[in-house]
Amino acid sequence: MDPRGVTFVIDSDMKNVPLVGMSVNRLCRAASFSTLDAFHIELCVVEAVTNSIRHCYGGKTGHEVTVICTLTHREIVLDICDVGPGISPGVLDGAVIQNSPGDVADIEGIPEGGRGLSIIKKIMDSVDYRSEKGKNRLTLRKRLPEKKKGTG
């Protein structure tokens, strides 16, 4: 199968994030991902676009976030692109979900935010980040489920 793709360009408004997320979900289900996998991939795109709006554009509208979805015979590739301040070096490497959420008796010690990248890294097969001359690209990859013998 030749690569196929669709590109979404949205204004940096949080209200637009679900539009991309739900579209990616449908695309994933059409590509034979399970409902749960499609939900997880939607979540990763939502986290990435939300981070882009919040951190690259300071939560302000009037900027573009581009999401390029490419489907090959073996995987889905999602590129989330923005223009501006990128992710600081080391942030992506340091984003890990701990085995314990912290001391559950001390709710003040459990962070309210900062889970987005670690969720993405946990769900996707690979996560790469490039930033060049202010153009940033976060690339997420997830392998398609293996086809059962005797089908397709």
Partner: protein
């Protein structure tokens, strides 16, 4: 997101419907903060109608738990759909919140 409210045996139950994400997170935090300053509040957040949750939504739940805990109360979660539950498990927050099948069971557990 829509939020409906009812009391079951002196336990306040919030029924959420829609997406709990960066757009609606503030709405939930404000709703919980508006429930008053009564000591030891007992709150159930029913998520049977939540078809999507992200890290901002999880953050709103943690913030709400902090608000209620400061008053000596607690929050219990009920009705999680399969996909939302998987995010609680993935982030280990199923160890922070007590999760019940439905709002009645959660309310009775206080």
């Amino acid at each position: 997101m829509e939020i409906d409210q009812e009391a079951i045996n002196h336990v306040e139950v919030l029924y959420l419907k829609g997406r709990l994400d960066a757009v609606s997170a503030k709405q939930l935090k404000e709703k919980v903060a508006s429930l008053g300053q009564e000591k030891g509040p007992k709150l159930v957040i029913d998520m049977a109608g939540v078809d999507f949750i992200d890290s901002s939504g999880l953050g709103a739940l943690i913030s709400s738990l902090r608000t209620v805990s400061k008053l000596g109360g607690d929050i219990k979660i009920s009705g999680l759909q399969h996909q939302a539950r998987s995010i609680f498990e993935l982030t280990r927050l199923d160890r922070v919140f007590r999760i019940y099948d439905d709002s009645m069971a959660a309310a009775k557990s206080f």
